[in-house]
Symmetry: C2
Subunit: 247 residues, 2 copies
């Protein structure tokens, strides 16, 4: 980034044992901490400690905790590869892109929370918006509706990433608690669902007949996160195609 610091850092004689502070270093350390202790537990003090410094030093490179997390969000997006032409037609590529987004963001705890408060405008977010719009256009979506569709897809990505993160968190907590007992996704979701099932079961059929009638369908196995996410995305894309005319 800065010439002077890099020149100094490159000099072995003056190079300190620790990496010099920089915006990138702060954001990278925060991302690592998100993976280690979770989004909510990433405090300015902990980030500073990871960089072997004090909390006040961070504010030279970052205005806020919010802005720091926005940087982390964008950095996480950098790992998302754009689909290539060989991956199929526009629809296959769009589905691939969206699922990669959900899996990547969901893999970094609740980092997707950042996208709820503010509309991400980092370089990586723009790279992905560009690709999304291009694919939608290739699918024949009207130019005027493309931004709306991208908005809808973004909403879907963010909330699905948070859902995935919550499931992974529960899964980790359960494996940690259950010790050696392996916790497959199936066993996990069944355990989590049983909690909900208890609520649904104790519901008087008189007041909530439909929930009661559909309870087996709610419990149905095979409702893994993957199939559910793929199904929902399919619904949205089908809806975009069916809704062709612009209001």
């Amino acid at each position: 980034m800065t010439d002077s610091t890099s020149r100094v850092r490159d000099n072995p004689r003056t190079r300190p044992a620790k990496a010099a502070l920089s915006r990138q270093a702060v954001i990278a350390a925060a991302l690592a901490l998100v993976d280690e202790v979770g989004y909510a537990a990433v405090t300015m003090r902990r980030v500073a400690q990871a960089l072997d410094t004090g909390p006040a030093s961070l504010y030279v490179y970052v205005a806020d905790r919010d802005e720091l997390m926005a940087g982390v969000h964008d950095l996480a997006l950098a790992a998302v590869e754009l689909p290539r032409p060989a991956d199929g037609d526009w629809r296959a590529r769009l589905e691939l892109l969206v699922s990669r987004l959900i899996e990547t963001l969901g893999g970094h705890d609740d980092i997707a929370l950042v996208a709820i408060t503010r509309v991400p405008t980092g370089p990586q977010a723009l790279r992905i918006l560009e690709e999304t719009l291009t694919l939608l256009r290739a699918g024949g979506i009207d130019d005027a509706t493309c931004p709306w569709a991208a908005d809808l897809l973004d909403q879907y990505v963010t909330s699905s990433a948070l859902e995935l993160a919550a499931r992974l968190r529960d899964q980790r907590a359960m494996t940690a608690a259950a010790g050696a007992a392996e916790a497959t996704e199936e066993a996990m979701t069944r355990a989590a669902r049983s909690e909900l099932d208890a609520v649904y079961s104790e519901l008087p059929a008189a007041t909530h007949p439909t929930i009661h009638a559909l309870r087996p369908a709610m419990t149905t196995a095979g409702r893994t996160s993957h199939t559910s996410a793929a199904w929902k995305l399919g619904v949205i894309i089908d809806g975009l195609l069916a809704h062709h005319p612009q209001p």
Copy 2:
């Protein structure tokens, strides 16, 4: 608090008309505070102060701040009226229900954040889930897919409510700052969008050609929150109908 007031309060004859503490009173006070100072600024101390007591007293009726907010979320849902048969067919009624949900939740700042961390299971949430499932079933959606569809709609409601809340917050901040200058929704969204437009405009057309080409579409007026939300909901329902077969 002070000796004099407490002495006065202890006297039943002069005791003010404040309601005795109860779970309902605590949650109601918290909801009022959400509307007054915003979701993030609702602290246990402020809730206690509104009830003329100390923070420790709240923990008799509420386990957590999270649980308190879950109660507030459910209480907010109580204001949502279910559509009546006279409101139209299943689709019209479903659209009405969803838009009422978004408007109600979005009207209480970021209270919808509660639905992201935990799946709401309060009585009001169950009342609305029951109605949603009933309407979907009436629309001919397969029994096995109804829960998935309800999930998708819930995701949509929650994220849209947060989007609406953010817009209302910005609007309020702007009216407060602009003083007497009236800030219509149109003027408001234009101002907010100009911020994004600045980002899009300064984007090199070489690297982001589609964003550049679609920029007029992104700025298009008439993209009020209402039309946008209605359009998105239409897309989802169309998708549900088009996607008929269950995977």
